[in-house]
């Protein structure tokens, strides 16, 4: 995080420094924080016996009710493994299930095209990942409209620039102007071109997953991507208890390449689970374990991410909510289960139901991120941009989230004691009644001692008013605009860049222009 030496050597006889020097020092873009290694304990909200009870109930669900796998290949794998299979219903006994689950590594390395951005996932290692899947954007002028490729490029640029984001995700927003059969190519290209961080794969069809792997092969080498994780892909269970063919197709493509999948049911609790937080966790745990187990039949020992995305349903409309206390409580339960199974696990951080980057969004986001951090989640997704239960990605929200992540990164990084002695010395130096603003210790540490967000406003009322009395949403959009103005594209080998373009051109020739 230390700023590299700055060149301010215009004239040889000057010492440099001064206003220009300080400005340069402070404006050096910090490219990326390393993997967050959590230095605070994970909080377990219930006693061990309660975790055990839920675990047992989940196993019983898979033994007694079973889970649907609506795919011939998956059914064949389950039969060969000795599960009780009747048509597409698979009942898995606990010994088989736990044996498969135990094959998953508890940690893995997720490679970035720039090795400096490579991260670890699992154990104490956590990463923050921006959102996924928004059809709409709330744009820089505060209009809500369908997303475009230009928006997606922008979000990938912002993801690249945000120090605490460890991934570029993939389809942060949907580039709606591009024909559906060709869209995935441009989504992956945008992520790989505008950022050098790890990214996410496409899962909406087998063909699109294969195209994703082909593009990854061009960037990392075909050989490399056969065994080394370079992306993460999300396959959702269709709760309750159904894994369908589309998801299993994608699972096969990625797991066979040793690329991690997220097996974390997205459950609208109360609609796709029972209206009980613990009941929902028992069900989602069963679904997630069943998915994890299938990946181990496809490729034993492949890295996987277990977990959950559980939101409660607004019983007034059936719509998903954000930021509810139960969503936070369920995270703690899933975290405890993940540790029991020694599995890396995913949850969502700043996901909200609010339409705007407003007070509702702030409360919702904070409730959930706090829980995600304390519950010890490893893959903290939807950590930037998310509005309207995932229907919209907001520029202002994205910028705010990125900034807040720096704070959470610090929070989870624990309390440093390394300057404790110096701080004690400062007390002795100042004594009663004085102030610390001018001490050597303060001068040395003020820049890093306390989180200094720029979008949050702590000015005097008069100052704030003089600057236009801007609300948070406006300041967030300004921040996003400024960041984009400062963006510089990361280097990409020319051969690779051409290779990607060639592949896209070749595929586009083959693919139709509309769905059929």
């Amino acid at each position: 995080m230390n700023a590299p030496a700055v060149e301010v050597t215009e004239t040889a006889h000057r010492r440099g420094g001064g206003r220009l020097g300080r400005k340069a020092l402070r404006s050096v873009p910090i490219a990326s924080f390393p993997t967050l290694v959590r230095q605070i304990p994970a909080y377990q909200m219930v006693p061990d016996e309660a975790v055990e009870l839920i675990h047992q109930e989940s196993l019983a669900i898979l033994e007694e009710v079973g889970c649907e796998f609506r795919d011939d290949g998956a059914i064949a794998l389950w039969k060969a493994a000795g599960a009780d299979v009747r048509e597409t219903r698979v009942r898995i006994d606990r010994a088989l299930l736990m044996e498969l689950v135990s094959k998953v590594p508890s940690e893995f390395t997720l490679n970035a095209r720039n090795p400096e951005r490579t991260v670890r996932v699992g154990g104490k290692n956590s990463i923050f990942v921006p959102m996924y899947g928004a059809p709409y954007v709330r744009d820089l002028d505060n209009n809500r409209r369908y997303g475009s490729l230009a928006d997606l490029n922008n979000f990938h640029k912002l993801a690249y620039m945000a120090p605490a984001l460890h991934s570029s995700s993939s389809v942060i927003c949907e580039p709606m102007e591009i024909a559906v059969p060709k869209r995935h190519l441009h989504i992956i290209h945008s992520a790989l071109k505008h950022s050098d961080k790890p990214f996410m794969g496409i899962v909406t069809s087998k063909e699109r997953a294969e195209d994703t792997m082909a593009m990854a092969g061009i960037v990392f080498g075909d050989e490399f991507v056969r065994d080394n994780p370079v992306l993460v892909a999300i396959t959702n269970c269709n709760s309750p208890l159904v894994w369908d063919a589309t998801m299993i197709d994608a699972m096969r493509v990625y797991a066979s390449h040793n690329q991690p999948l997220i097996l974390a049911p997205f459950a609208l609790c109360g609609a796709s689970t029972s209206a009980s937080a613990v009941g929902a966790v028992a069900q989602v745990n069963a679904e997630a374990l069943a998915g994890v187990a299938l990946t181990q039949l496809i490729r034993p020992g492949s890295p996987q991410i277990y977990g959950q995305f559980m939101v409660t349903v607004d019983m007034k409309t059936g719509a998903p909510m954000g930021g509810t206390p139960e969503a936070a409580q369920m995270m703690y339960l899933m975290g405890a289960l993940a540790r029991r199974y020694k599995l890396p696990w995913r949850t969502s951080g700043f996901h909200v139901g609010s339409k705007l980057n407003d007070a509702q969004a702030g409360y919702e986001a904070n409730m959930l991120m706090h829980a995600a951090i304390l519950a010890g989640a490893n893959y903290i997704w939807h950590s930037a941009g998310w509005l309207e239960a995932g229907l919209t990605c907001g520029y202002s929200k994205f910028a705010t989230d990125c900034e807040q992540l720096v704070g959470w990164y610090k929070y989870a990084g624990g309390l440093p004691f390394d300057d404790f002695k110096e701080a004690m010395a400062a007390i002795r130096e100042v004594g009663p009644q004085g102030h610390f603003l001018g001490t050597q210790h303060t001068l040395e540490h003020f820049e890093s001692a306390f989180f200094m967000p720029s979008i949050m406003d702590f000015n005097s009322y008069e100052q704030w008013k003089a600057e236009g009395a801007k609300d948070h949403d406006t300041r967030g959009r300004e921040k996003a605009r400024n960041m984009l103005a400062d963006y510089e594209e990361p280097k990409l080998d020319e051969g690779i860049a051409d290779g990607l373009k060639d592949l896209i051109a070749r595929r586009e020739e083959k693919l139709p222009d509309s769905v059929s």
């Binding site: 019983m315 007034k316 059936g318 229907l391 769905v515």
Partner: protein, 230 residues
């Protein structure tokens, strides 16, 4: 809630209808069945039972759902009670040539498995007295065409939640056009990533932002259909 014992058959017509509105509100299926039978026995025309006792009762339910007083599981119960009454009335309505409340085929389009919203729409439509045939998820155009042929609905409802599957709605509508049957049916579309403009662009009759709007829109179209015929 009806806590004290009430003998429905001892109520006057007016009282009974009022009571049925309350019972629908409270989702009391058996009571609705009983009330429906009593009114029929008293010589009420099936269409009068339907409109004054059931549809009117569900109108109140719909209003309170819209205003956030009633919740989804409660409305589901009401809709089930309504359905039970409809079950008794349907053959009688057909026999007496009463104006049809309407029939809808609804399904999520090909490639898409989201169904929570579609299920809600189906349930609210049934609650409003519509006959609903639910095709489930992941429906190719053939499924819609088969269902149209088999069930002769008034309305085709399509749901999509993915930007990658919503263009498929156009495939269905275009195929209906090719077959020369597009104008025989009302096509309603819905799903969170859609909007008014998209609905128009694919050639649907209307985009419905939620279940309540779907019911209102469907009723509107049925009214127009009856007016045309009248």
């Amino acid at each position: 809630m009806a806590d004290d014992e009430i003998i429905l058959s001892e109520l006057s017509d007016d009282e009974l209808v009022q009571q049925m509105h309350d019972d629908l509100y409270d989702g009391l299926k058996e009571e609705i069945e009983e009330g429906t039978q009593i009114l029929l026995e008293r010589g009420w025309a099936p269409y009068k039972v339907l409109t004054e006792a059931l549809v009117e009762g569900m109108r109140i339910v719909g209003e309170d759902f819209r205003d956030g007083i009633l919740f989804v599981p409660e409305v589901l119960l009401s809709a089930n009670a309504m359905k039970a009454g409809m079950f008794i009335l349907r053959p009688l309505l057909a026999a007496t040539g009463a104006p049809k409340q309407g029939k809808m085929v609804i399904g999520t389009v090909k490639g898409d498995i989201h169904d929570i919203g579609k299920n809600l729409v189906g349930m609210m439509m049934e609650g409003a007295g519509f006959d609903v045939i639910d095709l489930g998820i992941n429906n190719a155009v053939e499924k819609y065409l088969d269902a149209i042929e088999q069930h002769q609905p008034d309305i085709i409802g399509m749901s999509a939640l993915l930007t990658t599957t919503m263009p498929y709605m156009k495939v269905v509508i275009d195929t209906m056009k090719e077959k020369g049957i597009r104008d025989d049916y009302v096509v309603l579309v819905g799903g969170a990533p859609l909007n008014e403009e998209f609905g128009k662009a694919v050639g649907a009759d209307a985009y419905c932002r939620d279940a309540a709007v779907a019911v209102e829109t469907a009723k509107d179209f049925m009214k127009r259909k009856h007016n045309v015929r009248a």
